[in-house]
Each structure stands twice: as C-alpha cells, then as structure tokens.
C-alpha cells in the first residue's frame, strides 16, 4: 500500500477532524467517533491514526496553550491540510459515483 493512501479508519478520523473544526485533538476526536459509530475506541488507535495521517501529509498539527483540565499539559491540535481535504472529497466522489450505479439499493 502506498503511504499516501487513506485507510478506512484514517478516513473516519480525518473526517471527524473536519467536523470538529479548529479545536480537534485526540480526546474529542475519540468522543466524536464513539458517538457516531456507537462503539468504544481505544485512545491508542486514535493516536496511531493521527500521527500516521500527519506523516502522510493529510494533517498538520500545532501545540496549543497550557490547559486547566489536564494538569496544565498542552494539547496537540490537528487540522486537515489541503491534501487531506481533497482526499476526502475524492473518496466521496468515488463512493457516490458507485453508489448511484447500484440498482435499487433502497429496496435491497
């Protein structure tokens, strides 16, 4: 697999970050996904996806300021890069294109 391709879970994480907006970091990404997928996700899985997406160039990140709720420890905020955004758009287009070609899916 080429390093620039998106995995399933990575795609979900990437979209969750787009949904959350500017304040996305590991914990609220986890909450967002757990909420939508209705299942528990371990934090390490989120971390893995985030750091890999950053390595692949779909995400960029910066360290935020000191926080109160976590003993003053700073958060790393992630945001999508242009490549990240276009990658989701491209996948969406492919999916929709194919979805339309399936006959009577709603009846299925």
């Amino acid at each position: 697999m080429k390093a620039t391709e998106l995995g399933d879970f990575e795609e979900l994480v990437l979209m969750a970050i787009c949904v959350i907006g500017s304040q996305a970091y590991a914990v609220n990404v986890k909450a967002e996904l757990e909420n939508r997928l209705k299942k528990r996700i371990n934090i390490s899985a989120i971390h893995t996806a985030l750091y890999r997406l950053e390595d692949k160039g779909f995400l960029k990140s910066e360290i935020g300021g000191a926080t109160k709720e976590r003993g003053g420890r700073r958060k790393r905020f992630f945001m999508p890069t242009a490549a990240g955004k276009s990658a989701i758009a491209k996948l969406k287009a492919v999916r929709e294109g194919m979805y339309k070609l399936i006959p009577d899916i709603s009846n299925g």
Partner: protein
C-alpha cells in the same frame, strides 16, 4: 492534598509511560490519558478508572509513542554489517588464530553437546510413567547381628503385607527374574534373558503401552504371557502382525503360556527392560501369602497422591521391627521409582543401572572442556590486542562509545561461536555412531532433532559467546585513545598476569585428566594381571536348563570323553559373581549362625578351576551319599578359628538343617569381583545332587580349542537336540565384570586427549604470537651471537613455568580424586609417584613440543628477515 492524590492516576503507570514514551510526544499523550481519566472518574469507580488508565498506558505502547534509539535503525544495521565485515576480514587475515579459535571451540562444543545428550538421557530414566511420583520400590536390607546385607529386591511377602497394613498403599507389584528361560515356538528354540514374572498390576503402575490386550487383565490368569514386538518377531517371523498372536501359545521352559497381550518395546530410558512378562499367578508362591525367606522379588508399591515417603518409611520400619526372631531383622527403604536407576546403586537384575557419581563427573568434564576452549579465545584475543588497538583508536576518535565497541567485539565472538556451532553440529551428527558405541546408547539423528538439543545449542551459543567474548571486549574497548594514537601502546601488560593464570587453569585441568586416566589404566591393568587364585584361561562355561539337569551325570561323562577336554564340573554361577550371600552356617555346639558365601560344587571342581588345595582333598563320589561335603577357604577356617589341618573332618551346618563334613581347605581366591575383599566361603557338594547347578565349567587343552568346542557341541546336540548350546570363555566373562571401569577408562582417555589438545592449541597460538612479537629482539640477539638453543630456551621458559605451576596444582588434585576412586576396590594399586611423574613429564613434553616448534622456527629465522625493514 490527600484527596487530590486520590483523584490522580496511578503514579507507577505514569512512570511506565515516561519510560517508554518519546519525549516530544510525552506531554500530549499523557495529557490525553489524564483527560480520559478525569472523565472516567465521574462515570466509574476510582478503582476501575485507575485500572483503565493503566490499560491505556499499556495500549499506548505502540510505535508512534516509543522512544527512538540513539542511532536510527538503518545506521544500526549498517554498523552491524561493518562489524561483521571487519570480523570476517580479521578472521581471514589471521588464519592461524581463526583456525585455532574455531577448531578449539568446535571440539569443546561437540564434547559438551555429547555429554549433554548423555546426561540428559540418564536423567530422564523412568520419568515417562504417568504415575512416576507415586510409585516406589522397596529394597530390603537384612541385618544379621552386626552384618548388614542390602539388596535391591524384597521377599514375596513384603508387597502384600504393605498393601494390607497401610491404607495409603494402593497396590503392589512383584517382579521376579527367573534368569535364562528357554522359549520354543514352531519356528525357533532359543534362550531369553528378559522374560520376567510379574503381578497383574504391572500396567497399572507403569506406563508401557500395549499394542493389543487389556492392561487390566492381561497378567491376571496363570500361564499368561505378554510379549513385546521384538520377541514376537523373533519367534513368529516378520509377518507376526498378520498372525493375530493374542490367544496363541508360546512354550516357555516346557510350559505352554497363552499370549494375552502384545507390548511395545520398553523405551531405552527405563530401568526395566523386558521382552516378555509371565503372570505371577503362575508361580506357586503367589498362592500363599509368601514367606520371608529369599529375596528375589523386585517389589514396587503405588501410593495415594501426596503421600510423604519419609513418614511411610518410618511406619514400615516399625511394622517390620517385630517380624523376626532375635538377632535377625529387616528394614525396607522406600525409594522413588525415578531414583532406582541413578541413586540406588543396587543391581535390580531387570535392566541397566547407573550411578549419579558418573553424571556429576561427566557434567563437570563437559563444562571444563568448554571452559578450556573459551580460555583459548580469551587469551588469543587479548594477546593480539595490539593489532586491533589502532582500529579501536580510530573508532573512538570518530565518536564510537565504549558500549558500541563492546558490542562490536561481542558480535565477533558471536560470529566465531556460530561458525564453531555449525561445524560442531556437523561433527555431532557425523560422529554419532562412535558416540553410541562408546556410551552404549542408541541415539539416532532423528532422535536428536528435538527441542531439548535445540535449546541446549542456543544456550551454548549465547553462553560461550558471552563467556569467551566479554573479557576481550571489555579489554579492547577500554583502551585509551591518546595512548594508542601516540604510538606508545605496545602490548597490554596489565592483562598478562590474567592470561598466565588462565593458561595455568587450562593445564591444571588437562594434567589432572591425564593423571586420572593414567591411574585408571594402572588399576585396570592391575585387575587383569592380578592372580585371581583360579585359572580362567582355557576354561569355558556352558549354561544348562532344568531339563538338562536331570541327565547331568550322563552329559558329564559323555563330555568327559570328548577329545581335548581335561576336566569338567558343574556349578551354579561362575566365579566373579557373588553366590548366595545370605547363607547361614554354623559349627557344631554353637548356636550363633554366621553369614557365609556358598558355591555349589562338584567332583573335580577344584581341579577344573585349578584352585590350590592347602589341606584335604577334592570332592569325590566315594563318601556318604546322604551327607554334604564341604571345602572351605582359608578365610572360613580363620573365621571359625581352625588350623588348616584342624578344619578337616569338622562338621558344619548350612541353611537350617543340613549337616556335613569339611573335607578340604582351599587357598583364598577371588570368587567375587575385586571391588570386595575375599570373604569366608563354603563350597558344597552332595553326591550327584545337582539341584542348584546351572553351569558346566570345562577346562580345555591348550592346543586345539576350536576342535574341542566343536566336539562338545556335537555331543550336546546328540543328547539334547532341542536345547540351544552356548558357551563363554571364563576370562571374557571375568573381563566383563569390569566393563564399567573399562568404559570409564576409555571416556577419560578421550576427554583427557581432547582437553590437552585444546589447551595446546591455545598454547601454540600464544607461543607463535610471542615469537612474532619478539621477532626483532630475536634478530638482534642472533646478530649479537645468541645460539639457536639459547633463543629457544628464552622463548619456552615462560610457558614452561606456567605448565610447571599448573602441575603443582593438578597432581595433588588428581592424587586426591583418584585415591578416592580407588577406595571402591578392595584390591587396588596405590597412587604412586611413578604415575604422577609420568603424567607430569607427559604434559611437559606435550607443552614443549607445542611451544618448541614455534620457538625453534623463530630462533632459526635469519635475522636479516626481521631486521631489514623498519
């Protein structure tokens, strides 16, 4: 404060996180985890939240969080590539040292592995039974007054008695070895030695798989027999499997036995080696409870799980204490099944027996030999350090850490050990037949391919690499850069005392082994040449069975007529084996009975074995047919306080009832092995009553052995065409009594040779290195007029000193060890100066030849060669 602490995640989980997590991501990851923890406090109990936090820490142990090494992984591999490349170049450049190192290590590894295999097999004896830990044997020890007589077996009454008396004893098993049995099928008549009588509980107590038959019932009915596949093949041909043997009969000693089961061969690591088992219920003694006379039944008991054998032992002793009349008592030693082979030291008569002592000796030798090989590596690596010093210096200047250099030199020893290991494995498989021959084991290449050996080899690899490599690695990596690069670094003198001590250790070991070997051979030689007091040459022994015994008088007279037969007599067991040990004898008017050894004799017994009569005469048929005739040895006469002449005509009583007269006194002879002293002996004969006799001893004329034996066989065949004929030469038989010692001698020779050889390899390497180091010095000395002998002396004197010091250690050590060993012989040589000096000279000579070759060559070199270039 207190509350806050309680509300925080476990500290040690944080410590774990900080240990593995890379610094640049530590803060954010820990922050995320803490946040999750705070959320969970509201949702779950504190305990669970903390547990989940710990779980998260564990789950986060993934590549994104892990610390990176100091050097990145790709350069790490490149570095190792470089290490191995340099190691290979070094190996190729200094071929002599490489060969010495690899060859020495290979030899060491081969020896060690073989010893490991041997010891492993010995230790595995009787551990394959499912019930091993709950099965015990009960050897019985007789106490007659002050005389203690231990045996491996018990009487037939002991098993049932223990089962009745103790609820924790669940069942018992008696096995009786009837000795030789003659087995007859439609195909073959032959003799078997390993068909035993056994109680029906045999397959309960032991795990010997049955091919056919029900383990519960096969040995229940009288005249049942279970045979192994090899016996089935022998008596029913190769297609025995097609014959459905169960239900067929086999004739054993003239009685038809029904085959009720077929058993697999017992594994080689069983102390019990049977080819057939006859039901114990066949024997008359199984009917009654059995009595306490005789002790020919190997008895096993099985207990409930978790029974303490010590407390049972005490209870048994209390039970046995009141069983016997005054003066006689027995004790039973509850011995675990798995201890029979190595710990009990009593012949069971049912299979092989060994001794834990030998396991220790061989393990020690294995370790010691591999140590010698490791010392070679250490010495050669450190002594050649000057060659590697520049490399170390340059690496250090380029920024190599000491740890990295240590890794480098260790990886070299790992590489060399691996080469030795691969070579060694090839040797192990190739030399396997030789090893089997030496140890009497039956390993095959396939049987070696198991996890035990793989594990052992890995362990050898790692430990030898470390043992041999760690010291040189530390020395070489510890050099000071400025010393090396200034050029003032010549030869590491700091390590030379250690190197000398290591050489001394090597030679101490080798010389001890050599001296020990010399003593073993001296003793073996002594045994072979010791005057046994009877003639064992040109005497053959022919065993016969009970059927033959009925016509023994005819057989004897027929055989007496065969051309070339000088004398013959019937007896029970051959001289060299202990006869009845437990026989009581006493003289008239005395109540005390004494423990004596007994040999059933015959007319001409004394003549046939060329025993020396001191008084009286040989057995003959002219005397009172109802009474025993006795010939005693000098020890017996002394025991009863008689002069030789005085003893003649004295009445004597053996067993409980039989009175007889002493008709002769014979000079003491070694009727038992030389391990024990000559004890009081009575040879008895009653006219033409041969109820105990089992062997004919026949003295032959010297010049026509083959023809005479043929003649004897023909006569036998005419009289007993159905009975197999076999014979042994008495001296062969006698030699076999010392098979264990002979095997030990061979093993020691081999190991001593290998040890001294590996040691000399190292010495050779060191000597050639010294010669190389001092080549300029030698050149200058020669120019100034030094002679070849004086230079040779100069080069050898240092090594000679080391060897002499090692001799000072090894000779007393060998003396102590071997004196100890010799004590197991009642008749033995003394460890004399002669042997010690011989061993010392041998070691010195070997060392001189090793060092001298190099020294002489160095001394002969034309000084021009060494001094020309500077």
């Amino acid at each position: 404060m207190d509350k806050k602490e309680k509300l925080s995640p476990p500290k040690w989980a944080d410590t774990l996180l900080s240990w593995y997590c890379r610094n640049d991501r530590f803060e954010e990851i820990q922050g995320d985890l803490h946040e999750l923890f705070q959320e969970r406090i509201n949702e779950y109990s504190m305990r669970k939240a903390r547990l989940l936090y710990f779980w998260d820490v564990i789950r986060c142990f993934r590549s994104y969080a892990m610390k990176k090494r100091i050097y990145s992984s790709s350069s790490h591999i490149a570095m190792f590539k470089n290490y191995f490349l340099i190691a290979l170049r070094n190996l190729l450049q200094y071929k002599t040292y490489s060969v010495i190192n690899i060859f020495g290590l290979t030899l060491g590894i081969v020896c060690f592995t073989y010893i490991f295999l041997f010891v492993n097999h010995e230790l595995s004896f009787d551990k394959f039974h499912e019930n091993t830990e709950n099965v015990y044997t009960v050897p019985l020890t007789w106490h007659f007054g002050a005389t203690v007589l231990p045996t491996a077996r018990a009487t037939s009454r002991v098993g049932p008695l223990l089962e009745e008396s103790f609820p924790e004893v669940t069942s018992f098993l008696r096995i009786k070895n009837p000795g030789k049995t003659i087995v007859k099928s439609s195909l073959l008549i032959s003799q078997e030695h390993q068909i035993f009588y056994s109680d029906s509980t045999f397959f309960d107590l032991f795990t010997f798989p049955l091919l056919e038959g029900d383990p519960q019932t096969v040995l229940r009915e009288p005249n049942s027999v279970v045979i192994t596949s090899s016996l089935a093949q022998k008596y029913f041909g190769n297609d025995w499997q097609a014959l459905s043997l169960v239900g067929k009969t086999l004739n054993i000693e003239g009685v038809e036995y029904e085959i009720t089961g077929l058993a697999q061969e017992p594994p080689s690591n069983s102390h019990l080696q049977f080819t057939g088992l006859m039901s114990f219920s066949t024997l008359p003694e199984s009917k009654g409870g059995g009595d306490f006379s005789g002790s020919s039944y190997m008895t096993y008991i099985s207990t409930l799980g978790g029974v303490n054998s010590l407390s049972l032992d005490q209870k048994v002793d209390t039970l046995m204490a009141n069983m016997f009349e005054e003066g006689t008592s027995v004790t039973l030693d509850i011995t675990p099944l798995s201890d029979i082979y190595l710990e009990s030291r009593m012949e069971t008569g049912l299979g092989p027996i060994s001794d834990m002592k030998y396991i220790y000796i061989f393990s020690l030798i294995g370790l010691v030999i591999i140590l010698i090989a490791c010392i070679n590596y250490m010495n050669l690596s450190t002594s050649r350090s000057v060659e590697r010093a520049k490399e170390v210096g340059v690496r250090k200047v380029m920024g190599a850490l000491r740890r990295q250099l240590t890794t480098q030199f260790l990886s070299e020893s790992v590489l060399i050990t691996l080469m030795a290991l691969i070579l060694g494995m090839a040797c192990i498989f190739l030399l396997l037949p030789l090893f089997n021959q030496l140890t009497g084991k039956t390993f095959t290449v396939v049987s070696l391919l198991n996890s035990d050996l793989a594990l052992a080899l890995c362990l050898i690899w790692v430990s030898v690499s470390l043992l041999a490599g760690i010291y040189p690695a530390l020395v070489l990596s510890g050099f000071k850069v400025n010393n090396i690069l200034k050029g003032s670094f010549k030869f590491s003198t700091s390590g030379s005392w250690l190197r000398r001590s290591l050489v001394i250790v090597q030679f101490t070991i080798s010389a001890t082994l050599i001296a020990a070997t010399a003593v073993i051979y001296q003793q073996l030689n002594f045994i072979q040449n010791e005057n046994l007091g009877f003639d064992q040459e040109q005497v053959i022994a022919v065993p016969f069975s009970d059927d033959v015994k009925k016509g023994l008088t005819t057989l004897k007279s027929e055989l007496g007529n065969v051309d070339g037969v000088l004398n013959l007599a019937a007896t029970m067991q051959l001289p060299g084996r202990v006869q009845f040990e437990s026989t009581m004898a006493h003289k008239e008017g005395e109540e005390n009975r004494h423990l004596m050894r007994l040999i059933p004799g015959d007319v001409n017994y004394i003549n046939t074995l060329s025993l020396k009569l001191m008084a009286g005469e040989d057995f003959n048929d002219l005397r009172d047919k109802e009474k025993y005739q006795f010939i005693i040895n000098e020890q017996t006469a002394k025991f009863f306080g008689w002069d030789l002449e005085e003893a003649l005509g004295q009445p004597l009583k053996i067993w409980n009832s039989e009175w007889g007269t002493i008709i002769g006194v014979v000079k003491d002879f070694h009727f038992a092995s030389l391990h024990e002293e000559i004890k009081p002996l009575i040879i008895f004969y009653q006219t033409e009553k041969y109820f105990m006799h089992r062997n004919l001893v026949i003295k032959l004329k010297t010049n026509q052995l083959a023809e005479t034996i043929e003649g004897i066989e023909d006569t036998w065949k005419q009289l007993y065409p159905e009975k197999p004929f076999s014979y042994t030469f008495l001296d062969d038989y006698y030699g076999k009594l010392y098979a264990k010692e002979q095997k030990l001698g061979k093993m020691f020779t081999l190991f001593a040779v290998i040890a001294i050889f590996i040691g000399c390899l190292g010495l050779f390497g060191l000597a050639s290195y010294t010669a190389f180091q001092r080549s300029k010095e030698i050149g200058v000395r020669k120019v100034l007029g030094a002679t070849v002998p004086s230079i040779t002396f100069l080069l050898s004197v240092d090594f000679t000193k080391q060897v002499i010091i090692s001799l000072l250690f090894s000779l007393p050590l060998a003396y102590f060890l071997m004196d100890n060993w010799l004590q197991s012989f009642a008749y033995h040589v003394e460890v004399g100066w002669g042997v010690m000096i011989f061993s010392a000279l041998l070691v010195l000579l070997i060392a001189w030849v090793t060092v001298g070759y190099k020294s002489v060559r160095a001394a002969l070199t034309n000084p021009v060669e060494t001094l020309r270039s500077e």
